[in-house]
Symmetry: C3
Subunit: 277 residues, 3 copies
């Protein structure tokens, strides 16, 4: 099916298996436009009874989804409420986890902050061994994660590694992310596409009811309660108003965040040295 | 002690340490006969105050326990109730987890579906690096796991890997199973026997009360509630009645499941291609 | 800042980052003196609003903290109550986990029993690849862990590996501890100091409120309830009165525990052979 270009583009490989491509130059920044694309996608998934699996990838090999927008383009995603009754940001991630459709993140490039929380809300995560920079740098920006990682990471990687990821606020490469359990598996970049495609087609051949029932049972013992996710989001909203946070965001933007590709690629590593303390 | 041959054979290495050997040709299919053997074993364990540890192995290096019988030989194991008040299938696994006696699965060969759920109910799992095919292929058969893996795997390997194991429905080798936390440790096949034997004899030398108290404390924070396990079993029972599931089972039996060794060894890998969709 | 020598010595690297050095010859045995040092440290941490992170290390490369004292020098640490309302042993570990200050264990040498439980109460654990002997040998001494490992390990390493660690009662080296998730990461010994120092200085440069809020959110979904920890401690107290436990402790002391360095280094490996059964 021909599909118009757009920031969240759907390619219907088969009626059971869609690829979803993030294509939002220059860096696939996670802003209100991307969230609208994801909301549209979720509505379309809900209306597609033949669909079994969606695999998310990026058109830009250097940026999967860079991070939450810090220039004011996030619209009302933390205040307006989505179909689940939760704020759009949380609603988007929660509906992905609860959907009868399986979601796979195929990761290449930079994935930080709320974008890391997007892949944590996917059912599975596979990453390029050579080309993955995954992390939660929020604490180094003076705030903290608000999109579910403080709730999801401890059950995925254990409390110690969750604290290292969140409080260390640095990038993790593919191999470390696999060893920590942050992603399912890191593969050589040249094998990643074929691996995810084969897994998605395989799941696409299975009975939808069986998939949905199995995922539902696993969800019962593995999803964080919505109240916990809201606590995290509310605390994040408060943190955004702190003077220290505003100053750090300002400094990052002045240094080139969301403008200069070289800075955009490596800014988390610099968080320990960039600010006067 | 001389022990009559049988499908679940006990070898009393010492009063504190028993080996239990699955020996049920041709493939160690998990049916009512094996469950009766396990129920008898549990009763005997309960009546043996000197016992500290049982290690489960297979007489057939290619099949540890193949999988749940799909030809109607499962008797009343999902309907009749065992000593715990739970259906025999669940009762067998739950009593193993709650027993003051330590259980170790020493894995060689194929272990799929309910057999994977048996090893997940053991206290520890050690696997042959070269010779392990472990998985939950149920979703590829049109049903889903019903013996506890949807409840146990998320806490063992995290939600992402649990979903990959259950929804991908494929085999995992020893190294991947170790990396995912599906087994404790994968060892070179030539070292597996000595490793498990040394560990079992060591535990066998410890005080039974100390073992029981420690396992009890860990159980308090790590066992799934019985109600969750029953939800999974009930949902599985319903799934078995679906037309799609019945057709997939029929197709698998026609292709040689439970009859032809070559098909029996590699059928999960074929689940993506075997059925018309 | 010059600091008087002592068993728990604080080195204020910066107002935001302190190193804490265990220096209590001959083996850094965990007794009432060390707990008093930790209680004093916690009070000082609570009174230091500029502090972000403490990193714990040992002055003795062969012993990080050997283990709980078995010669009667533990004072009232399991009976007297600390500021949290819990017994001193539990209070010390619980307050470390709840503190807004980040704690890092930099592990070299032997760390067993209650000392392992100390590092499990730290926010992160980094270990020397060549020089780490970490474990919970209590069950081999006829008792069981009482300082939180039976509650913390299952969520960190999964039930199967927690049972192996606690019931196997043996040492784990750095690589295995990393693979199991028992420590965050094992590094070559020559890189360990620089790695931890860089991470601590980095976290030390972050906003204290952001750190505290992030850790608080993670704690909500990852800390065991105090009631569970008390169950473990009470059960441990009972176990200490068992004749079998008293005999095993006596045998260990006679063989050189807490006296002879060679025995002190390798006693857990000998637990399977030392006692008449």
């Amino acid at each position: 099916m021909a599909e118009p270009p757009g920031p969240v583009r759907v390619i219907e490989e088969t009626p059971a298996y869609w690829r979803v491509v993030f294509d939002y130059p220059p860096f696939n920044i996670l802003d209100a436009t991307i969230f609208q694309g994801l909301q549209d996608l979720l509505a379309r998934m809900d209306a597609s009874p033949s669909l079994r699996v969606v695999a998310f990838e990026s058109a830009n090999p250097e940026f999967y989804l860079a991070h939450f927008d810090l220039t004011g383009k996030t619209g009302n995603i933390t205040t307006a409420v989505g179909p689940s009754g939760l704020p759009i940001l949380t609603d988007t991630f929660v509906r992905l986890t609860r959907s009868p459709v399986v979601s796979i993140a195929k990761i290449r490039g930079c994935v930080r902050g709320a974008s890391s929380e997007f892949v944590l809300a996917c059912d599975m995560r596979f990453a390029s061994r050579e080309n993955t920079r995954l992390g939660q740098p929020e604490v180094g920006v003076g705030v903290h994660p608000g999109g579910g990682s403080t709730e999801r990471l401890p059950h995925l990687v254990g409390r110690g590694r969750a604290l290292e990821i969140v409080l260390g606020a640095n990038d993790f490469d593919g191999d470390t992310a696999e060893r920590y359990g942050y992603v399912n598996h890191a593969l050589p970049d040249s094998e990643l596409d074929a691996f995810v495609d084969a897994l998605a087609r395989r799941i696409g051949s299975f009975d939808r009811r069986a998939i949905a029932a199995a995922k539902h049972l696993i969800n019962q013992v593995s999803l964080p309660p919505a109240g916990r996710l809201l606590d995290g989001l509310n605390s994040f909203q408060t943190a955004l108003t702190w003077t220290e946070a505003q100053q750090r965001i300002q400094t990052l933007l002045e240094h080139g965040l969301q403008r200069e590709i070289d800075f955009e690629k490596r800014w988390p590593a610099l968080l320990g040295e960039l600010f006067e303390t």
